[in-house]
Amino acid sequence: MRIISLIFCIFCIIVSFSGCTSDEKTARPKVEVQPVVLRLKWLVNVSAAGEIWALKHHIFEANGLHVELKEGGLEHNAIKDLELGRAQFGVASADQVIRAVEKGADIVVLAQIFQKNPLKWAYDASKLHIQGPQDLKGLTVGITYGGNDEAVFRALMAKYGLSKEDIRLYAVRQDYTPFWNGEAQLWPVYSNVEGLVLAQKMQEHGKRLSFFDPDAFGVHLVANSLITSRRIYEAQPELVQNFTKALLQGWSQVIEPQNELEAAQAVHEFDNSLDIKLIRQQLAATRELVTTDTLPIGTIDKAAWKESEEIMLQQGLISKPVGIEGVLKDSLR
């Protein structure tokens, strides 16, 4: 009998407490959040650190947005998703944007996340000393046929008068075996992501990795940028402003050195294939790509976009100028 009374008392207490919580909930004003899908350019890794930080620290929610991050890839292109209405925002590089605009895709660029292109060529510095493009003569260089690295490298070759006889091009595939075997001495990588993974592996094998950076030799092709459709840009300016502001706030905070450990842990939750120490190194490298000495984070480098368009024209990747200036909308400035 005593046990039954005890159970009854506990039940009453639980019911009364749950009643209180329920009343409190109904009393609190409801905040309307708008669901938004952001399609990334590639997999969730350190190149999306700002997005991850804004998500983890409820920056999007504070701006009235419930954001879902979706990974990108060859078949999951942000521009296609925007046109089909499957995403409201996306991340794409200049070559993707310019190609799409040429074919009538109605998109706008809201912010440029990477001020420098992370695309570089890795090489073993214990064997090679590359000071400039002329030092590439006689070497075998990996390129992804059809990829943006092909456009960049061919533009570099044209700019410095290097011919097919000077440099042997090697078709890149997903694994690094030809680079390890020495079949190709230079291999294209995203310096802030797989570049550092490769550096770690090379160090373990007594090698020293260095990067050849076309950007340092005047070939500028803009990388990750925030885009949306012109329809959303014109019809929902508030949404565009709030999203861009939240995303850039995420990037401003994630690259602060004092937030590095927490940021690495946040990225690790999405991509646990790498250890926190390596992700911290990746974050430090990403910081160099996102910031400049003078310009605020997210600034669109219009000259670099025009140069990207020129490179694509020279390489025959587009048949006519697309007037890229009309697509660049610095929505916060």
Binding site: L74, E75, I79, E83, G104, A105, G146, R173, T177
Partner: protein, 251 residues
Amino acid sequence: MKAFFSRLFQFSAIYTCFLSLLWLAKYGMGLSDYLIPSPVEFLNTIQEDGLDYVAYSLNTLSVAVLGHIISILLAGSISILGSLKSTIGTVTRVAAYNLQAYPIVAVSPIIFIFLGDGLASRLLIAAMICYFPLLLSLLGIFSQPVEDVEHFFVETGKIHHRLKLTIRLFENLKKLLTVLTGSATLAMVGTIVAEFLAATAGIGHAIKIALYQDNLARILLALLLIGICSSVYLAAIEILGEVVSRNLQKD
């Protein structure tokens, strides 16, 4: 010749329906040329890239034919070994089934390490992709006794393993030809997969480049040529099969 035209007609009808639906969706939903190319862009692509793509497709077809021949030899040898009731037979069957359980994208890095990204890798991957249906059919054929015929040789004491296999092969010739024709499509698919993963030639390589460049018009052209090549190859096998079976029945 009738088989050629029949196959080509079937493919043309399906491809035309597919293109019509695609363009219906494009104009119905107001999609840009970036997402789905217009008929004019498709025709321009045929004009500009057609010859190159025909060369890539023929390259792929030649590798697919070779890969198919290798896979027939491979499946034939393994199924003869697998039809044995000894330990070798059991081990062969288990190994053959297990090998097929691994996706080719996971096995391909090992193939590329040892064979590089040239012709040998393309051939091996094409053969690996299309050999399994062949193997299953051949194992089925070789292990299924043809009681009516075999009974005579068993009773007269003249039966031996080679004779058993010959009887079973001959009695199931039609079934075998159907499987051979079916696996030809897989040989083409296998070669394209290999080229997509790592190669510097063939239509699979061209599709990969077109994907990087978001060029659906080129992919549509590639699909057209792949379809034509597959139809021609299938028709060729059917004709060859008919000739062989007619000659065997004469004998």
